[in-house]
Amino acid sequence: MTEVDITLTVNGATRTGSTEARKTLADFLRDDLSLTGTHLGCEHGVCGACTVIVDSRAVRSCLMLAVQAAGSDVTTIEGLAMKGAGEAGGELSTLQQAMWDSHSFQCGFCTPGMVMQAAAFLSAHPDADEQQIREALSGNICRCTGYQSIVDGVLLAAERIRER
């Protein structure tokens, strides 16, 4: 069994740790860094709940080993609000506020993955239409909403981003 020392950037801060090779990035974030905002649903790459942003791309953190994130820049759900205010627990991001205003979510389990997927997509495609947003979110499963309220929230965020 291999233990590996890794250094990576998480939500703007440099973090170091020692991890077993078999540990996924999701488990490392949750268990070693206590960032439990990242949720684990299926743990084999089907549900999308564990989506985080690695080097500007949405990635399923249950399908990436922690050792593979060494040297990478990782953003988790905890890092979105931080960016707006420059510190933890700051103001909601434009996307988060728009989803709040749209009552996008119910139980909250899929929320972090859905928000991170939408955040990565919107930063690359601020002009996206409803069909493109549905396509981008198609890998994230929600069992409560029927998706309409989620899509509404992302559309509202896109509109607010474009108006800025």
Binding site: R22, E43, G45, L65
Partner: protein, 290 residues
């Protein structure tokens, strides 16, 4: 759902990677994008003693072109291939198939070589490689070997790669003028594995089909060429009747599986419909590329 304990090697060069494979052989799994391997490890359907992570081998990634061929390094990520101008221009069939692989987050990590080495017969890229007669370059302790697509896929998740060999790159012949392509699939939801998929490539010369390729995904344990249907098309002028005849032949020649997503009989009907759709779109594209 947690991976079993496993050793980990992260070679930085191709020769280091090949040496490690020679040392561990069957005990090792090669980790590229991990989008198929890590689920197998999490479900403990695969329990290698060591993972050889080739993501740090820089020379394995990249897209290049030389005299009529486009070469894609094994660890080229699917989203990178999706954004490649060379692939959009020279390999329209591959460009059409790439956005259908999994979901956006899967393509962030998944690699072209990884999908082709994993060899899921329902996946898009194996059908594309089979349709275009791609060439697989593998490297082992005795040097390099080139395997044609027809000999690469041996069975479900099984290729002719030996335990001490590493897939380093895949070469695709660039589409010639007059060639049109189409990738069609029917899946329960976008992003799911297709119940049936079809890679189509048609070359027209002066209105006559000089070359037709049809490769199915999801109908057998390997991506399957519809050779009898291809022969019906060769030398003919495109028409709805001709496409119907090819579709009937292609559907008659396959023996697809039945599962909870669809019966074998249903898959045959889908296959015939995809042949008609694929040929229509490919011929339209071929006429535009004359």
């Amino acid at each position: 759902m947690k991976l079993a304990p496993v050793d980990y090697e992260a070679p930085r060069t191709l020769s280091e990677a090949v040496d490690l494979l020679a040392e561990y052989q069957d005990e090792a799994s090669v980790l590229a994008g991990g989008q198929s391997l890590i689920p197998l490890l999490a479900l403990r359907l695969a329990q290698p003693a060591v993972l050889i992570d080739i993501n740090g081998v820089a020379e394995l990634a990249g897209v290049s072109q030389t005299d009529g061929w486009v070469t894609i390094g094994a660890t080229t990520r699917e989203y990178v291939a999706e954004e490649s101008v060379t692939i959009a221009d020279k390999l329209p069939l591959l460009a059409a198939a790439l956005p259908l692989i999994g979901h956006e987050a899967i393509r962030s990590r998944g690699t072209v070589g990884g999908s082709l080495a994993h060899a899921d017969p329902a996946a898009e890229l194996p059908a594309v490689a089979r349709a275009l007669d791609a060439e697989f370059v593998v490297r082992g302790p005795d040097g390099e070997r080139v395997v044609p697509a027809a000999e690469w896929f041996e069975g479900y998740l099984t290729t002719s790669r030996q335990a001490d060999e590493l897939l380093t790159e895949v070469r695709f012949p660039a589409a010639r003028p007059g060639t049109g392509t189409s990738f069609q699939e029917v899946a329960r939801r976008h992003g799911d594995f297709a119940m049936v998929g079809l890679a189509t490539s048609v070359t027209l010369d002066d209105g006559t089909i000089t070359d037709a390729r049809l490769a199915f995904a999801g109908v057998s344990d390997v991506p399957a060429r519809a050779t009898a249907a291809e022969e019906i098309l060769a030398g003919q002028r495109p028409s709805a009747e001709l496409f119907d005849e090819a579709a009937r032949q292609a559907a008659a020649d396959i023996d697809p599986p039945s599962d909870l997503h669809g019966s074998a009989e249903y898959r045959k009907k889908v296959a015939a419909a995809l042949v008609r759709r694929g040929l229509r779109e490919a011929v339209d594209n071929a006429q535009e590329r004359q």
